[in-house]
Symmetry: C2
Subunit: 333 residues, 2 copies
């Protein structure tokens, strides 16, 4: 592969610049250089480990991080019970619709639920800002709940197209689906004046449901495999995100039935098992960390995502969509 | 499949509502009901037909629509020459990076170019608004070039979060990467005060290149397979979009090398041939139509994409991202 191909359109991971002129930092180089203190560990008890049937003898492990309380707590409680009951073992990926979702669950739709699975009200699609601030003591949560501060920042963003306290290089985030978007304790958040919810970004996991007032139990799940279908925000519960193995769900053959459902059982991908990470034997528990979204490293990363100044780029964008400001997550050995 | 699964999170294609209460229109039902006069045919001479190697005996045909003049004309002229010379025959898909791009071209990077391939200047990444309005006589192009009208609409969007002339139900489009986004003659457009460019939406096709001042020839191409990487806008030429067969590019195995390049030649997907649609025998020429973006049908479709009111939805979004306002395209038999 020549240098042309190696540099093409991506993060520059090897040092390619001449030694005399240091390359401006890239998002990847900022993440790589972040101090240990800017990383936060993800409890194994907040992770679902889903093993798809191996392909060509190779394992296909997907790791899903559950959203933190107070978001979607009713559904994630159900999901913990379903994992503890091994309910998903023997289910399958049943639907893959291009530029939309990959969905999994019980193809028979007749499998009995374990005890304790409770319906969740539609009101839980969003979370009041006061509840967020009470439940999460971070600076970010307080900032989210401070309507006056948010209004000032929104006005800056809308009118002057720049400037938030954590964007020292000047950039904006304008969103067609929410009054305000933010990062909160490692997650993307959308909000209006009174409540917050998690946006349908690539890799986010949501709960399949029937028509209102049904809200789904958390047994039937999907993940976003294309442009963020944000029109689903506030209409479906977001309960997690895929933090490892996303390629096993995004690269599956698209279904040829209506809405991308597979027409024949043989096309489905079997799910061997789903376990809560903390229920795995000690040596097998998943260990991941995320870059703290209130850290200086994250501020620099966000500014670089919004304004690429490394050699490949002629013109920095000046802004970034909330679904392009992916929170860095790394596996620990 | 139960009704729960059939209705799940998608376009409702079968009549599921009780006959007494007509279902509000969906984007799909509006498109299905659009009169013949609201459709425009796409000339076969604006289409590239790319045949990947069959898989399991099944053909894999991808159809790419080239962007219209005056956008990226230097690169599309090169691409027409490359297709006429059968240059892509025997090349391959060399890179698939999850949530980013699928890329194809000559793996050896040594294949000689046919005569007439010309370098294109970086200035052509954007097109002056006056040039757009001169070259494209549509109402939409005039509207795009009218800076005063655009400024008024932008202010409405930014401040009041609603109302454009073609959004009778009230909705907004706010964009982090451009001052203005619009539809123009069937294509998504982003613009600032002086020039326009095409955004990196899902399925759009761009030109791989080396570092500046190289701009690529159009021989090495990629398409977007995830969340729109809009930071590439104005840094790389957009030359087309995949209008059929996208699933053959988006569902390929992700590469495990740096930037998603395949580590071994055996992982690459061979490209059998690429032809300009008008160079195919009469019976094989591709025939597609798009829904005119200045039609009443499109206005209703856009409003419905921004504000879903059919049975599945509890809460309309009130807005839509330019990369979620996909222009309807249909194959003609």
């Amino acid at each position: 592969m020549t240098i042309a191909a190696a540099l093409l359109m991506g993060l520059i991971q090897a040092a390619a610049a001449a030694p005399q002129t240091p390359e401006p930092p890239t998002p990847a180089s900022i993440v790589a250089g972040a101090p240990r203190s800017d990383w936060r560990s993800i409890p194994a008890g907040d992770l679902l480990v889903m093993d798809l049937a191996p392909e060509g003898g190779k394992p296909r492990r997907v790791v899903i991080q559950l959203v933190p309380a107070p978001f979607a707590s009713g559904w994630t409680a159900n999901m913990r019970r379903l994992a503890a009951a091994h309910w998903w073992d023997g289910t399958a990926v049943v639907r893959v619709q291009d530029n939309y979702v990959t969905q999994w669950g019980d193809p028979t739709e007749k499998k009995p639920m374990p005890p304790g699975i409770e319906p969740v009200p539609e009101s839980a699609y969003v979370t009041p800002l006061d509840t967020v601030a009470d439940a999460r003591p971070s600076i970010e949560a307080r900032d989210l709940a401070d309507v006056d501060a948010r209004a000032r920042r929104l006005l800056d963003t809308a009118i002057r197209g720049t400037v938030t306290p954590r964007a020292p290089q000047g950039w904006h985030e304008r969103d067609s689906y929410a009054e305000w978007v933010e990062l909160l304790d490692g997650w993307p958040i959308a909000a209006d004046k009174s409540s917050a919810w998690m946006p349908h970004c690539y890799g986010m996991v949501g709960v399949g449901r029937n028509l209102s007032p049904d809200t789904g139990t958390g047994a039937e799940l999907y993940t976003v495999i294309g442009q963020a279908p944000r029109h689903l925000d506030r209409n479906i519960a977001i309960v997690g995100r895929v933090i490892s193995g996303m390629e096993y769900l995004s690269s599956l053959k698209r279904g040829t039935g209506d809405l991308g459902f597979y027409k024949t059982p043989g096309e489905r991908t079997p799910i061997v098992s789903v376990r809560l990470g903390s229920d795995l034997p000690a040596g097998q528990r998943p260990a991941f960390e995320y870059l703290a979204t209130d850290s200086d490293s994250f501020a620099a990363y966000a500014a670089a995502r919004a304004n690429r100044r490394d050699a490949f780029f002629n013109r920095p964008a000046g802004g970034v969509d909330i679904c392009n400001l992916t929170v860095p997550i790394r596996a620990m050995k």
